[in-house]
Symmetry: C2
Subunit: 131 residues, 2 copies
DNA sequence: ACGAATGATACTATTATGGTATCATTATCT
DNA sequence: AGATAATGATACCATAATAGTATCATTCGT
């Protein structure tokens, strides 16, 4: 099992590069630097743009800049954007609302794990990874 | 994202039921109790048998008994059996051995998360869930 | 010998992941 | 104004993981 999928990871690397570069960064720059398949990276950046994490500029000389301060970009948010909500604890029997959930010993333990993971992922920001 | 897939979860429930029942338990008993699709459950039990977690008895009056003491059956082991190794931290760029791994700030943070999750999952045994 | 149970194994359906490909739009440079 | 260089929107495709089914072989108890 892995925690982070490729799109999340690529997004993180892309954002980090944009931060470090300060100026406008084009997809070509990113492909050169990160060696990520170009169309895939483009798709990822478009999502990041829609979510306000980067800002895009069209046309000649265009590209991407940061949309948020690096201390405000949390790995947890990237993960949620690309992988959906982090629900480590979800009853296999009843996807909606399990009636046993309040007494289910497993559920409560998984909940604790989930809380810890979320806390840790919240503590990881782009800023904290740069330096 | 979820931590536990169906087969792991079903396996856990099945084993718990076997523990509680003390005597021999057949697939039919389990299907009745857990409402899990029969052929799927059978496949799961065969794996558990091969791994020594349950013991199987063929023929009329056959079924399954526990192969290990409940305190010795860890959720972590079930998870590994059905979902493979728990590697929350695996570099997306180089699946084998990333040269940057020793200096990668993300890798070290994910490693900490992984350690914590593993520790917690080790603390969850069938015995601890029964009572 | 028969029936009731599991063992072994191969197949299938659905979803998630990791991408490609194409055309439209917009900004800049000449 | 028109060519060019960038992103936007969208639809498509390939592979792998998940969640099962289906079938036949084997073994044990009666
Ligand atoms: S059985 Fe549904 S939450 Fe545990
Ligand atoms: S870049 Fe490979 S371990 Fe972080």
């Amino acid at each position: 099992m892995k925690l982070i999928t490729r799109d999340t990871d690529y997004a993180l690397r892309a954002v980090c590069f944009i931060v470090k570069n300060k100026k406008m960064v084009s997809v070509s720059d990113l492909v050169r630097e990160l060696k990520i398949p170009r169309p895939f990276l483009r798709k990822i950046l478009q999502v990041l743009n829609k979510k306000g994490i980067v800002r895009s500029f069209k046309g000649r000389g265009g590209g991407f800049t940061l949309g948020l301060r690096p201390e405000k970009i949390y790995l947890l948010d990237l993960l949620r954007i690309f992988q959906g909500p982090l629900k480590l604890n979800e009853c296999t029997l009843n996807k909606k609302k399990c009636p046993k959930i309040s007494v289910c010993p497993l559920s409560s333990k998984l909940n604790n794990i989930e809380k810890h993971v979320i806390k840790e992922l919240k503590s990881i920001t782009v800023a904290s990874l740069i330096k």
